[in-house]
């Protein structure tokens, strides 16, 4: 039976969860004060700038994966264009602070406004089509963004080389190696804000409609709601948050690089979310952090001296982190539906929520229109029976 029947024991579980979250958060806040080595996991002490930098990156990508999960995991929108809005935050911040001289605060505000307007316009167009066509048109818009950045017709993005943040314009607290801990805390604050917003949003009435759209868009229409408006809302929200992630990212790495506009980068967002568990906020967060961690550690591993002793068959493929991550991703897709979050749910079956594993199958239902069965009597029956059985919680 499903979670609905186990809510009796749910209160203690929720209590435990709250304690765990508070403890983890406290630990995360305290990390820059911990002068401790964690052998094998990190090179250097926890409070060293190198480790804090990596942790900050992990947090930013965790937050970004979270925003993507709102689209893909919760609403079933397979967007290949999410990088566009992250890149808007990244390049927007660099370009606005370099070119306009508004001061950092107003500049960022302007970028955030753009982070609302651009997805509203682009989303309004993209959402006119569904499913795979939606995926393609979002990919195309993101590609347009990538081309714009690399070809640089306005001479602002720095083309293939990218452009660094003018540090004189940036608040001092976020500049320099000595202030890495401030940047780290900023990234941590970003995660908290994004998580809380996403948590509230997904539990709001609109959030429930998003999940209903993921399960069965047609049924939402039958209920007299307009899926288009709800999808546009979640797209704008997720994109806006992604822009915010981009702003923080610039402060972490100190500049903009065309890598964040590429289609490969968008694909890695998908990898992060699926790795952690689509449809679970903490799953996506963990996925984004895990991916970033592995990406960096594998790259370091590839150049480490101990690697040179390995035979070429092992050494050569490992020199490219994306190879190992791609293979890991394939394994997760094939054998671990639900990713990390799915694994945890499996270990503790009492608390199966909206498991990430269901997401893929749920989204899979709606596809091309050409061969979808006509609404025949079976389908009508399905709608009737489906509604009834949902109340009984008798899912297969």
């Amino acid at each position: 039976m499903t979670e609905r029947h186990t809510t009796g024991t749910g209160t203690t579980a929720a209590h435990v969860r709250r304690v765990v979250v508070v403890a983890l958060l406290g630990l995360a806040v305290a990390i820059p004060f911990l002068n401790r080595e964690v052998p094998f996991v990190f090179d250097g002490a926890l409070d060293s700038p190198g480790v804090l930098h990596l942790l900050a990156l992990m947090l930013v990508f965790g937050a970004l994966a979270l925003t993507y999960d709102l689209l893909f995991g919760f609403t079933g929108l397979l967007s290949f264009g999410h990088a566009l809005y992250f890149a808007l935050g990244v390049y927007g911040t660099v370009v606005v602070t370099s070119e306009l001289g508004l001061g950092f605060g107003s500049g960022v505000l302007l970028v955030l406004v753009a982070g609302l307007v651009l997805p509203l316009v682009v989303g309004a167009v993209c959402l006119r089509v569904k499913d795979i066509a939606f995926a393609m048109v979002t990919l195309a818009f993101a590609q347009a963004g990538a081309i714009f950045v690399v070809r640089d017709p306005l001479d602002v993005t720095g083309g293939e080389l990218g452009r660094s943040l003018p540090f004189r314009e940036v608040p001092e607290a976020f500049v320099g190696i000595v202030n890495t801990r401030n940047v780290y805390w900023l990234a941590l604050a970003l995660v908290v804000v994004v998580y809380v917003v996403a948590h509230v949003a997904t539990r709001s009435p609109a959030g429930r409609v998003w999940q209903a759209i993921r399960e069965n868009e047609r049924r939402v229409e039958v209920l007299g709601l307009s899926p288009y408006r709800y999808k546009l809302t979640v797209l704008v929200l997720a994109s806006f948050l992604a822009t915010a992630c981009g702003v923080v990212y610039v402060l972490v790495v100190g500049g903009a690089n065309p890598r964040v506009t590429t289609s490969t980068f968008t694909l890695t967002l998908l990898v992060m979310v699926v790795l952690g568990g689509a449809g679970r906020l903490w799953g996506a967060l963990v996925g984004g952090m895990l991916y970033t961690y592995l990406d960096h550690r594998l790259a370091e591993l590839a150049t480490s001296p101990s690697m040179q002793d390995l035979p070429a068959v092992v050494r050569v493929p490992l020199s490219e982190p994306l190879f190992a991550l791609g293979v890991l991703f394939v394994i997760v897709v094939l054998f671990v539906p639900g990713g990390v979050a799915g694994l945890v749910s499996r270990v503790r079956p009492a608390r199966t929520g909206r498991g990430g594993g269901d997401v893929a199958t749920a989204v899979a239902g709606g596809s091309r229109t050409g061969t979808v069965q006509q609404p025949d009597q079976a389908a009508t029956g399905a709608a009737h029976d489906g509604a009834r059985h949902e109340h009984e919680g008798a899912a297969r």
């Binding site: 025949d376 009597q377 079976a378 029956g381 009737h384 029976d385 489906g386 059985h389 297969r396």
Partner: protein
């Protein structure tokens, strides 16, 4: 018994040979699912060889799903015995290769293919192909063999769908879903005549809302309601029983459904 005068459909054969009662198809405890929805709940009935069995029920009762579950086009569980072999775990093409012809509800002819190509695709290797019979029953298909199926009328598409199911001479069971749906009355009659002739050759299961079409042909009825069999028995007796038809199908005795 009152029939509408324009429906001069032939009456069912009066005397069946005794061995006609041998079942060619037997469903037992079949559950079927579409996505997350549980559509059929323990459906069971038998289809005797050599006659027409009508599958009846209100909209959404699960008639189409029953046909599709026999073919493996929906996820199903339970026992489906086709001429002595359990096919409940078989793929669709394996079920069909055992001699099943299927005419889906919305005909599903391949709109972009010509009539001839549609029929050629239906040819099963190893079977004889009854082009003579098909062209005799539906002469229009011969005239229009080069035409794209999508550009034909609904009635012509229905004929093509029926022809496709009849083409292979090793078919021993036809599953026909709503053959008269959406057709003009004169075409309904034409299709009914064809059905009758087809049923002389092959055991047939028909889903039909238009009782006027089916009531004189069917020897047996199976009635579904909310994914369960609520009645199974002789067709003439069922149609005699005004109260029962009213209760199970919600239609007035003898009246055409629409």
């Amino acid at each position: 018994m009152t029939t509408r005068p324009d429906h001069r459909v032939p009456t069912a054969p009066e005397n069946d040979p005794p061995d006609a009662a041998t079942p060619i198809l037997r469903l037992d405890g079949v559950d079927a699912f579409i996505g997350e929805s549980h559509i059929l709940h323990g459906v069971g009935f038998t289809v005797p060889a050599g006659q027409i069995t009508a599958l009846l029920g209100r909209n959404g009762a699960g008639k189409t799903t029953t046909l599709r579950s026999i073919l493996g086009l929906v996820e199903r569980r339970g026992s489906i015995d086709l001429d002595g072999q359990d096919v409940s775990g078989s793929t669709t093409h394996d079920v069909v290769r055992r001699g099943v012809g299927y005419v889906p509800e919305n005909r599903d002819v391949f709109a972009g293919l010509t009539v001839a190509e549609n029929l050629r695709l239906a040819e099963r290797p190893g079977a004889g192909h009854r082009y003579d019979l098909v062209h005799e029953l539906f002469p229009r298909l011969k005239e229009r063999r080069g035409q794209r199926a999508g550009s034909m009328s609904g009635g012509e598409q229905q004929m093509l769908a029926l022809a496709r199911a009849l083409l292979n001479d090793d078919n021993r069971l036809l599953l026909i879903d709503e053959p008269s749906q959406g057709l003009a009355p004169n075409l309904v009659r034409e299709v009914a005549v064809a059905l009758e002739q087809m049923a002389q050759l092959v055991t047939t299961v028909v889903v039909e809302q238009n009782l006027a079409v089916i009531r004189h042909m069917a020897r047996r009825v199976v009635v579904l309601d909310q994914g369960r069999v609520v009645h199974e028995g002789s067709a003439p007796e069922f149609f005699e029983d005004e109260a029962l038809t009213q209760e199970l199908l919600g239609v007035h005795h003898g009246g055409a459904h629409r």
